[in-house]
Symmetry: C2
Subunit: 465 residues, 2 copies
């Protein structure tokens, strides 16, 4: 079937999936969406399974066999649609305007899934018959709520198995249309510090005698890093993995200028010591500590001379390989105790997302770069790590997979926001790219098969392998 | 007229004044209340004047002449009544329950004013005829909003004049019924620190590159004091006046235990270095820095990995003589700049209330102690300074007055809160005390007159004075 028909079919499939409001935060329509995804995979030739998750089921499609195992990871659940009034068209309808498709999940992640699936069909048109590698397609229903049952599910369903490559649920397209291949994700740990010094707020004149919970929180928070952003928790950097020379090289040549980052974000105040050439290194490789929110005492107009009874500070840490969130929690607690803040309560909101980073010189990264450059007509960027996080570590730890993110989440895709969208041209290009990537897997599998056979032949000839 | 009749008349007067909702924050019924106060003073024998203020007029009553000038300072304006649902009886009615009179202004400051006025009438019954000292009764209509026009009014109306004693608008009765004579008030300076680093909130992954406004505020706030509460702003303590030995002695023997302070306040965490004997010294003499409120970023449930665009911290400083709020503002700005926080905006909410402290061995303090002990039947406490603040410095700076606070604001008076009240027995006792205090002024005036005449006689006899 001609390429245009693949696009039309994919649009129809995306339209049906977007219509299902599979909001995992509300546990809504997850089973319905899982079955729709299963039907698409079955129709495309996969053996399929549905397994219960904590909230939404997992869909698994499988096909082929050979020396290479590839996992494609996507998710069918979406973020809530609020605030509804800011949408220019209904969130659970696919609307086309100005060369874009709008709708909740149009990009994250239904659009990514459907473009790949259309690419798979195109690939199978070109290369029917037995698939020379094992392809597992895993579609999660709980990604937007942190994939609470993913780790246990992988352990249960794929115990003892190995995956060579995990094609991550998304990849990016930058503001100039260049594809970004993501080779890693930072980990994240989110905590809250709380201090309470009295039953109720007091007149601030008593601040001459009693300590102030907000000053204590300010001092504890200030102690966690220095003015340059360097974290001051003892042992924080101990587990940081040294960089490979290829990684250093990639991060040393930013694919975009610092000025464009400032323009995009509106941020002004660089951390002390980071300059217009060093920022990309920090984005890729620097763990960091962020204060997310302050609360306590009087926050209205003007002044109120109150000694607050309590307060709280929310903080997250972005972590890099091989920092472990649970261990950083322990280091943080020890830091607080050591610095006289043993009265400050430490509440852990999230310590489950570990950092991952794949080899930037992996064959699939090279293949993907070649394919993307050929179809997008622009240089592809190999980014050692996303500055953001994803629950990728179970694939690495349990299956030994290399994680590689390739996709069409563009610069203005408005993920998790009103008017989420995907650019139709990029979607169409990704169908072609996906077909070519499946082709690359096939070729790699043949090379591996050939190499295995050569070794076997050598062995039977009595030669040393 | 017998004492009971004085009480009945005073109750009737307090009832009428409480009925007038003279809320200065809303600019309500101020003129009406001023005229009611003027009528009471006129009826009690004073020449009266009404002068415009910024919001509410000033009432002045004057009577007598002699070598001694006494000013009685009160105010007729009150705090807003909200939250209304927490009142057990209507705020603008005087309700009697369990030996107390409830109503907005029942204590602060209509109750204090009326008890003194009843005492004045009792005194005049006992000692009619020409008053041997000059008595100025000033009733402010803007005290609850910080007396914005008091300083200018004093300058205008009393230019070049001198006042020996200013009987401050209130005094206290402690939990055990002992009267507290207040000889000073701390100054106060209320500011806000604001930091802004971007146009809008960003994804917290950018915290690897861009500075965090809340960390900057935490670090700036932490830098302002140390763990013991000692302020770290350079020059902050330079203007602190050394203590007189009598002051040290008074503050060294707390009239109540630290345990009772903890019980009253529910506060637990003493500033490092302050112990159960040193707390009273700190209440009286230590300037301090308080964080009043934090805001910025995400303050909801759980975690949100956001890099906030901006935040704010509200802070007050309690000051002691001779620290000047305006100068502390300048020192604070310099401190922020010197410590790398020149990007942090400093907003001054209040830098107009200067600290004052009168001599604790002043003759009027001694007289007041004697009078209060005689009528309350318990030891009176001479407290060198209230831990709180009041706009007393214009009386000191412009008129040279000693400020002394004597009154019946008791432990559970609920000032500025629902169910404000005064204890009827204490109100009645204060009528007697006031009469006796006016008597003491009269005696002091006679002593001064005698001393002046002796000097004049000595001079006319050619003796050296």
């Amino acid at each position: 079937m001609p390429s245009k028909d693949h696009l039309l079919q994919a649009r129809q499939e995306l339209r049906s999936l977007v219509t299902i409001p599979s909001v995992s935060a509300r546990g809504e329509k997850l089973s319905e969406c899982a079955h729709a995804v299963r039907a698409l995979l079955a129709e495309a030739g996969f053996s399929t399974e549905i397994h219960p998750g904590e909230i939404g089921p997992f869909v698994v499609g499988e096909i082929g066999s050979g020396p290479l195992t590839v996992m494609v990871y996507n998710h069918y659940d979406v973020q809530p649609e609020d605030p509804l009034p800011l949408w220019h068209s209904p969130p659970f309808e696919l609307s086309e305007r100005d060369g874009r498709w709008y709708g909740r999940g149009a990009a994250d992640d239904k659009g990514e899934f459907v473009s790949r699936l259309a690419g798979w069909r195109l690939f199978r048109e070109r290369q029917p018959g037995p698939l020379p590698f094992r392809l597992i397609w895993l579609v999660d229903g709980e990604e937007e709520i942190g994939s609470p049952s993913l780790e246990a599910f992988l352990k249960r369903r794929f115990q003892g198995e190995t995956v060579d490559v995990c094609w991550w649920e998304y990849g990016e397209i930058d503001a100039t249309g260049r594809p970004i291949i993501l080779c890693g994700f930072k980990g994240v740990m989110a905590v809250e510090l709380r201090a309470k010094t009295a039953r109720a707020d007091l007149h601030s004149s008593l601040g001459a005698v009693f300590d102030n919970p907000l000053w204590r929180l300010a001092a504890a928070t200030a102690s966690l890093r220095d003015g340059s952003g360097r974290v001051q928790i003892e042992g924080f950097y101990d587990a940081v993995r040294p960089l490979a020379s290829r990684e250093k090289e990639l991060a040393g040549t930013p694919p975009f200028s610092f000025e464009s980052l400032v323009e995009t974000t509106g941020a002004q105040r660089l951390l002390n010591g980071i300059d217009a050439t060093g920022f990309y290194h920090a984005i890729n490789f620097e763990p960091c500590m962020n204060v997310n929110g302050f609360s306590g005492g009087y926050a209205g107009e003007g002044a109120k001379t109150v000694l607050p009874a309590e307060g709280s500070v929310k903080i997250d840490f972005r972590l890099v390989p091989d920092q472990q969130p649970q261990q950083i929690v322990a280091l943080l607690r020890a830091h607080l105790d050591r610095h006289g803040f043993d009265d400050i309560e430490l509440i852990v909101h999230d310590a489950n997302v570990k950092p991952v980073r794949s080899a930037t010189d992996h064959w699939f990264v090279q293949d993907a770069k070649e394919v993307l450059e050929a179809h997008f007509g622009l240089p592809a960027i190999v980014q050692p790590s996303s500055p953001a996080s994803g629950t990728a570590h179970p694939f690495v730890e349990q299956l030994g997979a290399e994680i590689v993110g390739i996709g069409i989440t563009h610069h203005g895709a408005m993920l998790h926001s009103p008017n989420e969208n995907i650019i139709v041209d990029q979607f169409e290009t990704m169908i072609e790219c996906s077909a070519a990537l499946f082709q690359k897997f096939s070729e790699q599998a043949s090379r591996m098969e050939y190499s295995l056979q050569s070794k076997a032949a050598q062995a039977s000839n009595g030669e040393r392998p």
